[in-house]
């Protein structure tokens, strides 16, 4: 009873969750074949890293970690805007979103 309603969660669980989220992002980046979904996997990786930043900010009572997450969010917003514009430009040029068919620079 006491264990289920415990007020305490080890911080390593948060870090493990962030590691698993990051790894799922890497897996998505490798196996997904749609340009937009590959881009979403990058966002998933960013979110995993943000969670570990917040966890360490909690651990060390340091506000810098949270501020870093804030800047990561801002840069991610800019990155999403530019990246999606590039995806639109690629779609206009190649009329496809499959990464297998966008292979102009492939050896």
């Amino acid at each position: 009873m006491n264990s289920i309603f415990s007020q305490e969660v080890p911080l390593s669980w948060y870090l493990l969750l962030s590691a698993v989220l990051f790894t799922l992002g890497v897996v998505g980046f490798l196996i997904k074949r749609n340009l937009i979904t590959v881009f979403m996997s990058i966002e998933l990786m960013l979110n995993g890293v943000n969670l570990s930043f917040v966890t360490f900010a909690y651990q060390w009572h340091a506000v810098k970690g949270q501020i870093f997450v804030f800047f990561v969010m801002m840069v991610a917003a800019a990155e999403a805007a530019v990246g999606l514009a590039i995806i639109i430009a690629v779609f206009r040029a190649r009329a496809t979103l499959a990464v297998d068919r966008i292979d102009l620079m492939k050896l």
């Binding site: 305490e8 989220l21 799922l24 998933l44 805007a81 514009a85 499959a98």
Partner: protein, 181 residues
């Protein structure tokens, strides 16, 4: 209570992330990513980062994901075709991913001095200022220049996005606007 909330929303988070990988339609993946980001906002709240929780919902689950769903619908992205990639990617990539997770998990589990998170104990200072007050004090005094530079970055990103998305469309209206500049 903290444990229940953590397990619940960590479960939502992982379910959303796995669903993102399994679904073949981009719009379903985008909706799964919204689930992941909203659950992460709750986890930030549990860790006492109220401002980041709100920013996560507004910026990530709101602005960025609206952009994603907008592009998915604009490009009319259909189901993706599953190809298994090259053999070397399968032979090297997936063991490398498993090794990556194993290394990170080992480092985390071996780490000494990691504390426990208790509910309601956020990042505050001794004088009883809240998390948002502490954060904004640092952000608007010591880190004012990076904060303002970020706004310039966002402005450049907006201009770049407009230039990239307009580039190459053959309609005469767009051409007239470009030469008019």
């Amino acid at each position: 209570m903290h444990l229940i909330l953590f397990v619940l929303f960590a479960g939502f988070c992982l379910a959303g992330a796995i669903n993102l990988l399994l679904q073949s339609h981009p719009i379903t993946s985008a909706l799964s990513l919204i689930v992941v980001m909203t659950s992460l906002a709750v986890l930030y709240l549990l860790l006492g980062a109220e401002f980041l929780a709100i920013a996560q919902v507004i910026v990530y689950a709101g602005a960025i994901m609206v952009l994603f769903t907008f592009v998915v619908m604009l490009l009319n992205a259909g189901r993706e075709e599953r190809t298994m990639g090259s053999r070397s990617a399968r032979a090297v990539g997936f063991p490398a991913v498993v090794a990556l997770l194993a290394v990170i998990a080992t480092v985390i589990l071996k780490a000494q001095g990691l504390g426990v998170a208790t509910l309601g104990e956020g990042l505050t200072d001794q004088k009883g200022a809240t998390n948002i007050e502490v954060l904004s004090t640092v952000l608007f005094t010591r880190l004012l220049l990076p904060f303002e530079v970020t706004s310039v970055l966002i402005l450049i990103a907006i201009l770049g996005a407009v230039a990239l998305a307009r580039h190459g469309d053959g309609d005469p209206h767009g051409n007239r606007e470009r030469t008019g500049k």
